[in-house]
Symmetry: C2
Subunit: 147 residues, 2 copies
DNA sequence: TATTGTTATACTCTATAACTATA
DNA sequence: TATAGTTATAGAGTATAACAATA
C-alpha cells in the first residue's frame, strides 16, 4: 500500500458507488418531473428540445433507445401540448420536434427545482464540487458510447 | 473569482454531469446483464441476494419500488431457476428470497464482466479514483432517501 | 435501394387498489 | 387491526419486425 493512496477502492466498489449515486440522481429527477406531470423519460426528452428543433431519429440516438419508441414518447408530450412535430422543409421524410412555449416553461421549472433541491451537493464545498466536476467530465466521454 | 476554484461549475452543470455518467453506467450494466439473459432490474435484484436471504418486503425497500412489483420480478427470476422463495420459519407471512447456486454464479459473472469492462475508470489513475470514491461516498447518504 | 417515421406486437417495470393469510 | 405477499389492472418504456412515404 503506497502512502499517496491510503484507501485505494476496488474498481467494482467505485462502479457500484457510481451506480448508487446515479440511481439516486435519477429517482430525484423522476420525482421532480412527476410533480410537474411528466415521467422521467418525458422530462429527459423535453430537456433535449430547449434549443433548436431535433429530428425524431436524432432524438432516438440521444436518448439511446430504438426509433420506434420515440413515436410514443413524443405522442404523449404532444397530447399535453408541450411539443409539436414539424415536417422538415429540406427532407419531407424527417419530422423535427419542437418544444412549445409551455413545454419550455415547464422544463425550466423542472430544472430550477432540481437545482434548488441541491441539498446533496451542498455536502461538498465549492472546490470539492469543482474537483468532482473535473473527474466526472473526464469519465464521461469514456463511458458514453459513441454513435 | 477565487484562485482556488478557477472553474467553479454550476450546481445544475454538476447535476447534469452526474446524470449523464449515471445513465451511461446504468446502460453499461443493462448491456452486460442482457448478455447473460437478465434485465437490468433482474440483475440488480440478484445482486441483493449474494449474501443472506432477503424478505420480499425488504427487497422492495432496497430496490425503491412498490412491493407489488417484487412479486413479478422474483417470479421471472424463479422461472429461470436463479432464485427460490422460502417461507420464514419465524413469521409465516414473510417469504425470504434466496439465490440458487446458478443465480450466484451468473451474478458473479456479471460483476466480473462489469469490472473487466472498466475501460472508463482507467481514464483516472489510482489516486484520482480514490478521490472520486471519497467524494461520491460523501454524496451518497445525502442523495439516497432514508426509509 | 436506403432512410424516416409509424404501426403492431410482446415483454418488463411501474403504481394503485383490493384481496388472502397470517400475526 | 395491522402486516406480508399476491392479484388485477392500467400505463409507460423497451426491442423487433413489417410497412408507407420519401429520398
Amino acid at each position: 500500500m503506497t502512502a499517496t493512496t491510503p484507501n485505494a477502492p476496488t474498481k467494482l466498489q467505485l462502479l457500484e458507488l457510481l451506480a448508487a449515486v446515479g440511481t439516486a440522481q435519477w429517482q430525484d429527477f423522476a420525482a421532480v418531473a412527476s410533480r410537474h406531470g411528466l415521467t422521467a423519460m418525458q422530462a429527459k426528452t423535453l430537456s433535449q428540445l430547449l434549443g433548436t428543433p431535433v429530428p425524431m431519429r436524432r432524438l432516438a440516438q440521444r436518448l439511446v433507445c430504438d426509433a420506434s419508441n420515440i413515436t410514443g414518447i413524443v405522442d404523449r408530450l404532444e397530447a399535453q401540448g408541450l411539443v409539436r412535430r414539424e415536417v422538415s422543409p429540406t427532407d419531407r421524410r424527417v419530422k423535427n420536434v419542437v418544444a412549445t412555449e409551455e413545454g419550455v416553461a415547464i422544463m425550466r421549472r423542472v430544472r430550477a427545482e432540481m437545482e434548488s433541491t441541491h441539498a446533496a451537493l451542498d455536502t461538498l464545498d465549492e472546490s470539492e464540487q469543482a474537483v468532482l466536476h473535473g473527474l466526472l467530465q473526464r469519465l464521461r466521454p469514456a463511458m458514453e458510447h459513441q454513435d
